[in-house]
């Protein structure tokens, strides 16, 4: 009899222990490790939630990459770093109800090491903003986008940046800006911009935003942001096969402001800021820095 009671008690205890183990198993990663990753300052980390572990991992990893790129690019430099596949990303996985919470993380020293290697190999070119006068801005290439560092190096598939422009872009089909009725009625000559309110395109919205900025540093940060988001590419005139499809930013390095925003329209060049035609911009803006911009249509 006594033995039966003991056996039953043991069985109940076993069930309770098993039940508790099941509950605890939902905490897939260790909270102490989470604390170390998030609070030590030694790691880049990003978190995301999703219905499946895989989705949460993918989103967290994407966010992590964006954070690293932003951190790198906003560190007072202009660079062509757009996308990168890093080795050594780890994950902390937690489960809350049906939702997976995943923290993707990587050691900062590891990232620095990998980026240093890429820079040494010439795959990332970094130009400090104060050297912008030298007009050494490089057009972004995408060699790092889909290949992991190690695998591409081993396979010898990484090519010098200018030889591997596999960036798929579709050029903007700019509509001819015919003068509006109002424009005709007033009998104005082509010395002012046509009324664009009718065909307001995405590019023009970006143009407006760029045109609003006066400070060169803010402008360069915005250009970088657009470049990272795949909205535009920018560089020297020689970098483009058809520079007439580009807008041109004229920066005055002495006062650190944008002097002109030149737009090709109707076979002429207009200054977006003053709304006037510029006949010979190379002479007009002599000794200033010119950046060519090409928009990417999504």
């Amino acid at each position: 009899m006594k033995s039966n009671v003991v056996k039953t008690s043991l069985f109940v205890l076993f069930l309770i222990t098993l039940f508790y183990s099941r509950i605890n198993a939902q905490q897939l990663s260790n909270p102490v490790e989470e604390e170390k990753v998030k609070l030590s300052g030694e790691y880049y980390w990003e978190e995301e939630k999703a219905n499946t572990e895989e989705d949460a991992k993918t989103l967290a990893k994407e966010n992590l990459i964006i954070r690293i790129i932003n951190d790198f690019n906003s560190n007072g430099n202009i660079s062509n770093l757009k996308s990168i596949k890093l080795e050594g990303i780890e994950y902390l996985i937690f489960k809350r109800g049906s939702i997976f919470r995943v923290t993707a993380f990587i050691e900062k020293t590891n990232v620095t090491k990998q980026l240093k290697t890429l820079r040494e190999m010439g795959y990332i070119e970094v130009i400090p903003t104060d050297k912008i006068k030298e007009e050494k801005i490089n057009i972004s290439n995408n060699i790092l986008q889909n290949e992991s560092l190690d695998s591409t190096v081993n396979k010898g598939r990484m090519k010098p940046k200018n030889e591997s422009m596999n960036y798929r872009i579709e050029l903007s089909k700019k509509e001819e800006n015919k003068p509006t009725d109002k424009y005709k009625e007033e009998g104005k000559t082509k010395t002012t911009m046509p009324d664009e309110s009718v065909n307001y395109s995405y590019n023009q919205m970006v143009t407006e935003k760029l045109g609003e900025i006066k400070d060169n540093n803010e402008l360069l940060a915005l250009l970088n942001e657009y470049k990272r988001n795949g909205k535009l590419v920018y560089g020297k005139k020689e970098s483009f096969s058809d520079p007439e499809k580009c807008d041109i930013l004229i920066l005055n390095p002495d006062v650190n402001t944008m002097e002109a925003y030149l737009v090709h329209k109707d076979k002429a060049i207009y200054n977006y800021l003053t709304k006037n035609i510029v006949t010979d911009f190379q002479t007009t803006f002599k000794d200033m820095v010119a950046i060519w911009i090409m928009y990417i249509v999504k």
Binding site: V6, L13, E34, K49, N51
Partner: protein, 340 residues
């Protein structure tokens, strides 16, 4: 033999004692908040303490089935008022024992936010079980965000957008000023959502302009609805309401006869008007879930931020799912002529 059993039982008891789930102990009510990414350590510590005290306080109140009692130096009177009204409609508790988050510094004012605090909402969860899959999928994922003033005191509590939505929408702004404006819009949307949850009719009265245009669409079901659907001939009939009518309906019908009103915003899109830069169009997918009724539809809000401290909604449209297949499509800024 009995000795062996006794030892095993003792072992199991010790195991359970050592690893006893903290939620069963008094300390289990505690949610510890640890913050990072703020250089002012004094302020950081104060925010950590206040957030910990608030979350622990609401957890205790939830399990003890009473109203939360939070000390005055943890949160402002306004925040207490918000918490109490949230509590009246649907008590909540934090589902984690430890929260480690970044402090977000608001660009517009010297305020701080911590986001992604998971909560369990009592009535909504228990009554949702038999409801639609779509609403249920979000029920595991309710989160609140806490806003702190410059001294580290909690000044607002609201249900938040999902973190990925929030970051994405905020960073779609191209300039610093635009990011700041978007941050403000998102804060406004979160407060608007929370106002419905709190049944805060005064807030809603305040944010809708007196001559607001309020449009509600209803799908007209045909006997041959399948064929109509295939032909893309879904018909939606639109009804307009004045602000007074809309507020009266909310107050005297929806808020009065529903124990809780819970809405979730998803698929948010923010568009700036090209002509009037203070005017924004916000498209949202709205999951409306009250104790008596639930639906999913598309919401459009035209919000005027000319007076930044008092944003005003000029247009609110609601269209049922399926409206996207009609010739009108989903309403947006282009659907309305704005004359200032």
């Amino acid at each position: 033999m009995d000795n062996v059993y006794r030892k095993i039982i003792l072992g199991c008891c010790l195991f359970l004692l050592l690893y006893c789930p903290s939620s069963y102990s008094q300390d289990g009510f505690k949610t510890v908040v640890k913050l990072t990414d703020l250089s002012d350590e004094v302020l950081l510590n104060k925010m950590q303490r206040n957030a910990t005290e608030l979350l622990t306080g609401i957890n205790e109140a939830f399990f003890q089935n009473r109203k939360p009692e939070i000390r005055n130096d943890v949160m402002t009177d306004k925040a207490k008022e918000i918490l109490n009204s949230l509590w009246e409609t649907s008590p909540l508790r934090c589902t984690e024992t430890q929260i480690i988050e970044r402090v977000l510094q608001m660009k517009r004012e010297k305020k701080y936010q911590i986001r992604n605090i998971p909560v369990f909402i009592k009535d909504v969860f228990s009554e949702n079980e038999a409801k639609s899959k779509e609403v249920n999928n979000t029920s595991d994922n309710y989160e609140i965000c806490l806003t702190f003033n410059s001294t580290g005191k909690i000044e607002n509590i609201c249900y938040s957008l999902q973190s990925n939505n929030y970051e994405r929408l905020k960073n779609e702004g191209a300039t610093v000023s635009e990011i700041s404006r978007r941050e403000f819009i998102l804060e406004f949307i979160e407060n608007l959502r929370t106002a419905y949850n709190r049944k805060d009719i005064d807030f809603l009265k305040k944010v809708y302009s007196n001559d607001a245009l309020i449009i509600t669409g209803t799908i007209i079901k045909s006997e041959h609805s399948d064929i109509m659907n295939q032909l893309g001939k879904i018909r939606v009939v639109y009804q307009t309401q004045t602000k007074k009518e809309y507020i009266e309906t909310l107050k005297n019908r929806i808020f009065k006869y529903n124990k809780y009103v819970n809405i979730v915003f998803d698929e948010i899109k923010i568009v700036k008007d090209l002509k009037y830069p203070d005017l924004y169009g916000v498209n949202l997918k709205q999951l409306w879930n009250t104790s008596g009724y639930k639906d999913v539809g598309y919401l459009f809000l035209m919000i005027d931020f000319k007076d930044e401290n008092n944003p005003t909604i000029h247009v609110r449209t609601w269209q049922p799912e399926g409206a996207e297949q009609t010739k009108e499509g989903i309403f947006g800024l282009n659907s309305f002529d704005v004359v200032r």
